[in-house]
């Protein structure tokens, strides 16, 4: 029974997650109305991350992708909503319990230059997690660090070096080693390859896939690169202005996108084939998250906008098994 339950229960369950930033400072809080001075970085995100899968998250910059990753890990405190990790509600944990929990959930950052402390050696950087979560001797710690470095394709001889002595790709390997040395179950990959050269990107993606297989990891893979997300993900969530507008199996979603925004995103990918049809381009910029549009967030730029789109926010509907979309066009579609 427990095995079946574990199978059914998602590793990470995100429910109605909000993260708002109040831009009013000091006494202005008494004067200004909150609605016009609140950035809604996450505005009601609900999704499951299943054990062993890679859930890709795509969207334009500023849509809340990174905020989602950090709020799920409780590096940012959510304004409201809940995140349950393996059935444990994170927001109820006290600091000590949260510290213990952090062993199971790690993050790999985008910028391999900002994410490694320039004043600490590779051994100190990678060994930090062991120092916090395991009571090992210095010798054992060094062995585990050496082992981890080899796993990510570096040499134990690198341990006494400083980050500035490595290339971007090598630095990203160090960042991966730091996250994985505590043997987490769940890893947020926050655009882990977008700061790297294309050839290095492929190496890092291959490494992430290999480690996932070996260590049985679950990834939340954030990227704005559709090709990368399509390559690594089992399922994909599309975000727009702090909300998930479409979520489905990677292949189905990228082949037959249901939401007009996803369609526009895919149409914007440059193609090699000559000629081709008229490309559907999005008009205008992403609206400010300070004043998100009424109704459906996307109606200001949507080619299929209808009257009710600006009035009523669409609720997600299933267009295929496991493929949900929040758009009025698909209401009444067979579930």
């Amino acid at each position: 029974m427990t095995a079946a339950l574990q199978e059914a229960r998602p590793l990470v369950a995100v429910r109605g997650l909000h993260k708002h930033y109040d831009l009013r400072r000091g006494l202005r809080r008494l004067v200004d109305r909150p609605a016009q001075h609140t950035v809604r970085a996450l505005d009601g995100v609900t999704l499951d991350i299943r054990r062993g899968e890679t859930l890709g998250v795509i969207g334009e910059s500023g849509c809340g992708k990174s905020t989602l990753g950090r709020t799920v890990l409780r590096l940012l405190e959510p304004t409201s909503g809940s995140v349950a990790f393996d059935g444990v509600e994170l927001s109820t944990l006290d600091p000590a319990a949260m510290t213990v929990m952090r062993r199971h959930m790690q993050i790999i950052f985008q910028d391999p230059y900002a994410s490694l402390n320039p004043r600490r050696t590779v051994e100190q950087i990678v060994g930090l997690g062991i120092a916090i979560h395991a009571r090992n001797t210095a010798h054992e710690t060094r062995e585990r660090v050496a082992d981890m470095l080899q796993r990510v394709g570096l040499s134990p001889a690198h341990m006494r070096r400083y980050p500035h002595q490595f290339s971007g790709g090598q630095r990203q390997r160090i960042g991966i080693a730091r996250a994985l040395v505590v043997k987490p179950q769940f890893v947020v990959c926050d655009e882990p390859v977008s700061a790297l050269d294309v050839s290095i990107q492929a190496q890092i993606l291959a490494l992430l896939a290999e480690l996932k297989r070996e260590l049985g990891l679950t990834y939340l893979f954030i990227s704005h690169d559709l090709a990368v997300v399509g390559h690594v993900s089992d399922r994909v969530a599309v975000m727009y202005l702090g909300q998930v507008v479409e979520l489905g199996p990677a292949r189905a979603l990228l082949k037959s996108p249901a939401h007009p925004y996803t369609q526009a995103l895919l149409a914007a990918v440059p193609r090699v084939e000559a000629g081709g049809g008229e490309r559907q381009r999005l008009q205008g910029d992403v609206p400010s998250p300070l004043r998100p549009p009424s109704g459906c967030r996307f109606h200001t730029r949507c080619p299929h906008a209808m009257a009710k789109c600006s009035a009523i926010a669409p609720t997600p509907v299933m267009v295929a098994p496991g493929h949900a979309v929040a758009c009025h066009l698909h209401e009444g579609a067979p579930a």
Binding site: R70, L73, L75, M98, T99, V100, R102, R103, M105, Q106, I107, F109, Q110, D111, A114, S115, L116, N117, P118, R119, R120, I125, L128, G129, I132, H133, V152, G153, L154, S155, A157, H158, R160, R161, Y162, H164, Q165, F166, S167, G169, Q170, R173, G175, R178, A179, V182, S199, Q201, A202, Q203, L205, A206, L207, A227, V228, H231
Partner: protein, 308 residues
Amino acid sequence: MSVQAVEARAPAKAATDAVAQPVESIFIANLRDFRRNRLAVASVAMVGLFALMAIFAPYLAPHDPYASDLFRRLQPPAWLDGGEWAYPMGCDGLGRDILSRAIYGARVSMTIGVAVMMVAAMAGMIAGLAAGYLRGWTDIAISRVVDVLLGFPYLILAIGLMAAMGPGLGNIVLALAIKEWVLPCRVARAETLAAREMEYVEAARALGASRLHIMLREILPNILSPLIVVCTMRMAWIIIMEASLSFLGLGVQPPVPSWGSMVADGRQFLIGAWWVSTLPGVMILLLVLAINLASQGLRDAFDPRMRT
């Protein structure tokens, strides 16, 4: 897809790249930069000489700095009429050897300069780190205290405190350090505010590192360079402050020789016997100049952003 094509030869190559390079921390690299700056190295040597002079004053001074010989009252330096080489820089109003007193005076200036800076740097560093990293009420409380102290004229505050506490070496250190810590504090706070947003701090938080670890191990090493630079620069200023207090009679009490009080003693004879005030004045000038030049060299090597 091209992504898969490159996969196979991924990890092997990366391993061999950086092995041959020598291990070098940023600190060592900065130190090498500093050594290339001849003026700065000469200035450090100069400050070192002053320090040695302070330490070995009893062996260097030709005479007892306290022994007065009224027959030698206001005796001119050796190269002037009436001077003699046994008293190369002449004697003061009580017939004491000026050179010996100036050598002993280095003790007061160096001790106070170093002591005040140590106290102020430690206090300011801790307060600045706490304010910058913890934010919230800690930051508000510390920053308001800093603002109030910054609004106070330095010398007036020091004079007031010295008048209240009475003279004495320990009291001078206290009176100067009470205001001096705000500068390292402001630098530490500003640098911490920038450093706390770095992803490596977030990575440490994601691993569950304590706030103490993040402040002392992740942030502090990265803000140390500008702190050291500011503190050495301020040390020159503290030495001037001590001289000023001693000049006003609120610092080190007679008969202990301090450069500031020696300048003050010579003031009444300035027209007839200029040498009484001049040598201690030159000493202040040389030490402060050397510290300033050295700190500029440090700044250029350790904190290139502050370069003017």
